[in-house]
Symmetry: C2
Subunit: 297 residues, 2 copies
Amino acid sequence: MDFKNYLKERITLVDQALEQYLPAEGKRPESIHKAMRYSIFAGGKRVRPVLMLAAAEAVGGRLEAALPAACAMEMIHTYSLIHDDLPAMDNDDFRRGRPTNHKVFGEAIAILAGDGLLTEAFKLLSDLEVNKDIADKTRLAVISEIATCAGTFGMVGGQVVDMESEGKAELDLPTVQYIHIHKTGALIKAAVVAGALLGGADEKALAAIRSYGEAAGLAFQIADDILDIEGTTEELGKDAGSDSQRGKATYPSVIGLPAARQAAQEMLQNAMQSLQIFGTAADPLREIARYIVERKN
Amino acid sequence: MDFKNYLKERITLVDQALEQYLPAEGKRPESIHKAMRYSIFAGGKRVRPVLMLAAAEAVGGRLEAALPAACAMEMIHTYSLIHDDLPAMDNDDFRRGRPTNHKVFGEAIAILAGDGLLTEAFKLLSDLEVNKDIADKTRLAVISEIATCAGTFGMVGGQVVDMESEGKAELDLPTVQYIHIHKTGALIKAAVVAGALLGGADEKALAAIRSYGEAAGLAFQIADDILDIEGTTEELGKDAGSDSQRGKATYPSVIGLPAARQAAQEMLQNAMQSLQIFGTAADPLREIARYIVERKN
């Protein structure tokens, strides 16, 4: 498959849907809708929504069934970036090469834009006019999966431990794994599980997709750690080397760069093995896993 | 009815359920679960959950059907208080007579505790093991109603306009109404509408409850404005007169205290009229409306 083209097409599809589902800038209160759109349309890679659509198709479903939920997932991811960048948290001035939300709109609006995006995600997931053909039980299961993975036993919990670990002299691998599995991995897993649910997966397919998501999610964050060392500031759109400067818990800092590279490759292999029960319909998921580990930004 | 006793019993019921549904303090990451519980169990009046239970019973339903959603509503209310109190927002040091969340746990954990509570609310609302006897369609409608009223066209939007109006020389009544209807009213309306849905209301009952919620919600905030002038710091658990010091948009500041009092009474009458189709089953809703307008804190 022509993966580069596939990715481009899927990103366009997701962007168009986000354009449709996000409140228009002109709607009152204008400032917050402008701030929400600023961060949503800041050139994100759309990894989570693209994964969700691919998971829906891998299990034999239609991508349209997963498109609104894919947008909700990107809203949750974006809210987490806005809040993580705040002065009280990571205090980042740049994200994807552009000033962070609070640098443009101020801290108060940035906090509220994050709150607004998180809430809007659940509004979209429960919208009675959107995706009426999806069974109510499936929609509830999707909301439950996403809320669980985004909360304190998932993404939010990972961010807490990440912050609390910052600057600590000795971090062990279990702590770094906890952070990665929760802060980044949980939402990536939720994306593919939700996609599989919306695509009508049976128990066996769902378990395989869940296992794929766990491996791909961890691989994604290990690759991110490695990129922070090897990537250039230009490629990353943020300061290269910022993790180590900050004393962030990363795979390379705990087990060294070669072992981190090996761990990423192992996770990639795990992800691939999880997909063995699927045929060519899962090729996009395979390509995305490879892309996750081998990307340059 | 013995309203004082009723209220006490209902608050105990809600507190017990919150104890059950909130993650235990000992669960990792401990800091955020501690912070979430700190603000949830800070002596709140539980107006929204009590209203939700009363609405379920007013339409002939069982309060047990609404108890988990009532807890979710209190989580959303509490998240909004934690974020509103942040230095970048209202910068409040005290809430209900105790130091605010960020004064105790720091800004980063306070932001994340708010995020965690908001997410936990939707997790609880969609939990597949909780309230299995409620129809899936009803549960989705409840999630949709709550997300809509909590988002940028509801509570979050009201907070945005409130902040943006602060200190402005001339505020008009429509702006103050917008703020009150959205910032406070929306969640109160959502509470009773969700309660009515979970109680099995028909179209006519639902419309009556919605109308009650709109009136009671606005009455609540006008009463709050008046209390800020007339109440003592001790009664309020926060600084009396803080709204006017800050140049906050309030009913008394725009139309004067006597007209504000009259507006609160009118809203109370509207709320009462909305309940005319119900018999004694709606007596608690009537008492709560009265309490909302006549309370001292």
